[in-house]
Amino acid sequence: MKGASSSRSTALAQLDKYGSIAAFALLIIAFSAISEHFRAGSNYMNIIVQAAPLMIIALGVNFINMAGESDLSLGGVIGVCASLFCGLIGKGASPLAAAAVAVAAGLAFAAVDGLMVAYAGLSSFIVTISIMFLSMGVEMTYSKGASLWIRDNPILVIVNGSILGVPNLVVIALALFAASYILMHKTKLGVHVQAVGQSTDAARYAGIPIKRLKFLMFLLGGLFYALGGMLNSLRSSGSIIYSGQKLLLPALAITFIGKTVLGSKKSNVPGILVGALMMSAINNAFTMLGVSFYFTTIVQGLVLLIAAGFSVGNRKTILQEDLR
């Protein structure tokens, strides 16, 4: 296998490693070339700002993915958190109190997910889908389908203001990114979670508490969903029914793109940044190009499939769920 074919395998390895970043760069160049609106300076900042809440949410899922599990409930949970936050503020509650309630809700759903997946050992896909349905029902019951607006509230400064020229949202997102990166890639805890997600045997050898760490990652995910959902609703000045569910696909696509970055085929934090920027750029470009909204959905679906396809390590077995 060595010798003659090694030059071909290094070429493939290079593609593997830098393919996503190259694709991202190509995308930006192509969009900039096609649309003059896209390449306006303020637009690039727009892309970054729009990427912020989505990245926070994707960071949340990423914690869970790094522990080797999946979470499809994020859309519904975000919906609950966002509508609670906006609804309570609309009824006159202080933003801090409303935020606390929203975070509590996010953690509560996350805890249920975590208990069933980490401790009871159920399949994460089907469990989190069930919670997705459940939380969507809760959101509908609470908001009764109405949109909950936040207007003229001082809390909006978070999304409107900026520090030293950098929008607050971006600052918050970067701070959370940095914290996530340090936690998952530099601390003992993060490295242990990676071990759990990549090799249960090695983790067991090392005496790592597998169930506890998985549960913890679900909780962290829930926290980030609440944060991301609240920030997102602030940007939209309110919460529209099932708006959280619309974020499910882009968030998942980001996690798959993240896995392909630097050829690791494993969940990682830096990749989330690249993925978030990419999805935001695509969204933005479509808006600038005047593309109909549904094209975004179609492309997002395709991106998910393509990214998922590229991030698969072993194609020999058919993946199956233990539902039978």
Binding site: K188, V191, A202, A206
Partner: protein
């Protein structure tokens, strides 16, 4: 007491339902020695080590470490007591660096974050102490060869400063130079750290190169512990195999067949990088051809390469003289070849299916009518007849296979292929985990098949079994055939020697 044993097994007994046990095994390992554990397949070596690793608990007897009874230890706590195991399965995190794997769970920290520099330094120091200038611990484990990955496993264990290191077939994946380097490292370990090593292997040359004393097990009993300098290779084989060198055909199922006519199956020059080197043999109709050899001999890989589950790099496979390119069980089935695979639980039977539906799975079209419906009546009748023929112990063919014993499950797998019209049968370790009665029933089935003119290949690591059912026996070692022996002339000692890498 007065003996200086660091680790002592006293009268260890272990029973499995109907299968080989350990009977009153007592042996002592002295501090600082490199102690070999040897025995034929099924003699009980791995059971004994699994009892030490607390994967099993013994039925009787005790284990003493430094004079203290450690029978209440668990798989986790046994390592706290200073016993580390290096098994065949490398449980490493592939995408981590070697350093991260070595210090996994005990990473040094600077404040909240991992002190990466210190981790690299300590890991490299540990690695260099074991084998200098071999592995750069900052490299990712997935980029390392299997041999080097094994080094990482060993250093990982050594980092925890064990009193006893148990090595299970450590050189099965190593080249000659790598083996030499490993031995040099082990000798240094013993010199500098006074560590005690239990070394399990079937390779004669290894044992003589590195070990001080050897304990030999046979049929679940201790034959004895000896200093290697007082024992010849012949002595070892003799003790592993037993007194009865007479009558190699004793208990043989049938006389060896003369090779009549043309070969049914012809394998020539089969090569697979890192697995097979130039394997060639012929199997005649009605012949039972046995592949035997120990761990690492690549018997299963050979079968998989013939059937096409693995793609060989070079070589040809011929059926009735015509070359075939098989691509797996499906295409093999069409060519009249079938496989009763290793690990029946994973590969052989479908646990949630009944005996009937398991048996009919390979040739379902036989019971499918013109309208596309399966005739359950005919299916049931035929599978019942087959179950009867094979003496499958079950109340009815409707019972789920998961409730059957291992031997009966294996018979269901055989039934599945007998219900078809295959002409070449492959059996991979067909009697593993099956009691004596079940084994002889399967031997009878194989004998019947051969009398029907089928060409049969059986892979087994049990040399006695090989001699019992084979007409000709090919002894394999590390992917190559050491020699092909007529069963009439087969000598257990000679074959054991060949299987251990000895030269013809």
């Amino acid at each position: 007491m007065g003996n200086n044993y660091l680790l002592e097994f006293k009268d260890i007994c272990k029973r499995f339902p109907g299968v080989r046990a350990l009977s009153n095994v007592s042996l002592g390992i002295r501090k600082g020695e490199i102690h070999a554990l040897m025995g034929a397949n099924g003699a009980g070596k791995s059971t004994l080590i699994k009892i030490l690793a607390r994967v099993y608990s013994q039925d009787g007897g005790e284990i003493l470490l430094d004079g203290k009874d450690i029978s209440r230890a668990t798989t986790e706590t046994i390592r706290d007591l200073g016993v580390e195991f290096i098994f065949q399965e490398l449980e490493l995190v592939q995408d981590f660096s070697a350093a991260q794997n070595i210090l996994i769970g005990v990473e040094p920290t600077k404040g909240l974050v991992i002190d990466r520099n210190r981790m690299l330094r300590e890991a490299q120091a540990a690695m260099d102490a074991f084998m200098p200038e071999t592995v750069d611990v900052s490299s990712s484990v997935s980029s390392l060869s299997v041999a080097k990955q094994q080094m990482v496993c060993i250093v990982r264990a050594l980092y925890r400063d064990p009193k006893i290191l148990v090595l299970d077939e450590p050189t099965s994946r190593l080249s000659a130079t790598e083996t030499e380097a490993l031995f040099a490292a082990i000798r240094r370990l013993r010199r500098e750290r006074g560590i005690t090593v239990i070394y399990i292997s079937h390779r004669m040359e290894d044992i003589y190169a590195i070990c001080d004393r050897v304990s030999i097990l046979r049929d679940g009993e201790m034959v004895g512990s000896y200093a290697l300098e007082e024992l010849s290779r012949q002595d070892i084989v003799y003790k592993m195999v037993g007194e009865d060198i007479a009558s190699p055909s004793r208990g043989r199922v049938a006389g060896a067949r003369a090779q009549e006519g043309k070969p049914k199956l012809s394998v020539a020059g089969l090569c697979l990088e890192r697995h097979l080197r130039d394997v060639s043999f012929d199997v005649y109709p009605g012949e039972v051809f046995v592949l035997t050899g120990s761990v690492g001999s690549q018997k299963t890989e050979l079968i998989e390469s013939i059937i096409g589950i693995r793609k060989a790099d070079r070589g040809t496979v011929r059926i009735d003289g015509k070359e075939v390119r098989l691509q797996g069980a499906g295409s093999a089935k069409s060519a009249g070849i079938c496989l009763v695979p290793e690990d029946r639980r994973r590969n052989g039977v479908i646990y949630d299916f009944a005996v009937r539906s398991n048996s009919s799975l390979a040739f379902l079209s036989r019971w499918t009518g013109a309208l596309g419906a399966i005739s359950r009546k005919r299916e049931k009748a035929d599978t019942e007849k087959m179950a009867d023929f094979l003496s499958i112990k079950t109340a009815s063919v409707e019972t789920l296979v998961k409730t059957l014993s291992g031997g009966n499950q294996q018979k269901v797998v055989i039934a599945k292929w007998l219900l078809g019209d295959s002409t070449v049968y492959f059996f991979d370790e067909p009697t593993v985990g099956i009691d004596v009665k079940g084994k002889s029933e399967i031997y009878e089935i194989i004998k019947t098949l051969s009398s029907q003119g089928k060409a049969i290949v059986v892979a087994t690591s049990d040399i006695e079994e090989a001699m019992r059912i084979g007409d000709r026996i090919a002894v394999m070692f590390e992917g190559g055939i050491q020699g092909i022996v007529d069963s009439d002339e087969a000598d257990k000692q000679r074959m054991t020697y060949l299987a251990m890498g000895g030269r013809q």
